[in-house]
Symmetry: C2
Subunit: 261 residues, 2 copies
């Protein structure tokens, strides 16, 4: 069945490895008969900074509360056009693919600012104006697939279980769990490319493209990361893991079912 | 002895809790006889997006490599003035304090973009043009103190050891370990404020201010997080923990000496 996929990417250089992999995304999905829509953040000159200009019609002109103004702007349709457009693209998509270089162990500022501005109160959080009732597996984006393609300069061993940078899936937990699973998306395991600064030959690039092509092809088949949902029984008080859930485990990995400590 | 402290902050609303705590920082340090310098990112209209405009004099006008252009611009003094100014402020400071609201489990985009742009190759990484030789405890900012003040809307239990968001120190590991310890700073334990949306009365605000005042007073006395240094013996190959270091431990916390798993 034909699906719609939103590809959000954050690199200005068309010949970069990130952008090369964006091309693979588009070709692979279109070959499968799907429709691809783009958010080329650099190409769009996306406004990265969340500020007072996001709220042309203020509920309180004297004091800027981001939550209060965001809720007001979202519910009354007084958001800026760029934000409303991105929300509509997200809402219409069956899946979202994020593609970016790892900068200082996180997403580039332009992508962070996309999340901050597009995730309005009522949309990215505070769904149905119900505070934290719908989050972590439940929300406005429930059931959509999310897939992260990240390109790191450092070698894979630096990101291994005992690598000096820390494991990639833990470094990006604020993105996968905190930004994608939070409003309800099914988040697939991250697809990292390591040692990007040393990928030089055409054969090496082709290997990287092929590995990603395989992941994209299975976008609607692969199992998501088994993050525990807030409302699925793991968090009886909606704040902390129940005593019978992952007993004795602490930290980020306790929020993933079946994850060895 | 009189010290110089750079305070970098990221909230546009002067009456916000973040900015209230910035005032506490300034008052406390000046009362101690220190000199405070400011990087008010919103007030400065800091350019958050790292892009081709950061490199007015390109080594390769046809293809944008951030690392190559950053190294070129830094070593030849062809950076933009705003970036060079922030580097000079960092270099002249004995300590750096970052103050910001937690947005989507990380720093606001404007602060992420400050790190990305100011941390040039040769300065924030690639010190002495030696690749990864100097990092994680060694580098251009070696010996400076770093302290993070973060304001979160959610309650403390959400950030506890088994809290649904994950522990704050693990969520901000990419900042403390990956951005502050990386170029050599001694990073103090994070000072979080939780439940900010429910801090309402003057007495509650005063409690929050007083707790922070105590932390600021001890800026040059408190023990840093005992992150393991790359060149201190923990990583014989500069990539992974040695077999005799934290044996059997994996993940972020293995990089902190004495941290229970």
């Amino acid at each position: 069945m034909k699906k719609k996929i939103l590809v959000v990417y954050a690199h200005p250089e068309p010949t970069s490895l990130t952008r090369t992999l964006v091309q693979v995304t588009v070709e692979t999905l279109e070959k499968q008969g799907h429709e691809v829509i783009h958010s080329d953040l650099y190409g769009m000159h996306w406004k990265a900074v969340f500020d007072e200009n996001d709220f042309p019609d203020r509920v309180d002109p004297n004091r800027l509360s981001f939550i209060a103004e965001s809720a007001h702007a979202y519910v009354l349709g007084r958001q800026t056009e760029d934000v409303a457009t991105e929300q509509a693209k997200l809402s219409s998509a069956d899946a979202v693919i994020l593609q970016f270089p790892l900068w200082w162990f996180g997403v580039p500022a332009i992508l962070k600012g996309w999340i901050e501005r597009v995730y309005a109160y009522g949309f990215g959080y505070g769904y149905k104006n119900e505070g934290n009732r719908y989050r972590y597996g439940d929300g406005a984006l429930k059931g959509k697939k999310a897939l992260v393609s990240v390109v790191a300069g450092g070698p894979p061993e630096d990101y291994g279980p005992r690598g000096i940078n820390g494991p990639m899936d833990q470094l990006l937990f604020p993105l996968t769990h905190g930004a994608l699973f939070y409003p309800g998306m099914d988040v697939l395991p991250i697809h990292p490319v390591y040692g990007a600064t040393h990928i030089a030959t055409a054969a090496e690039v082709e290997d990287v493209k092929e590995a990603w092509r395989c992941r994209v092809r299975r976008l609607f088949e692969d199992a998501p990361i088994p993050f525990r949902s807030q409302n699925g029984g793991g968090y009886p008080d909606r704040h902390t893991l129940g005593d019978n859930v992952a007993p004795g485990q602490n930290g980020l990995l306790a929020h993933i079912a079946g994850e060895a400590r």
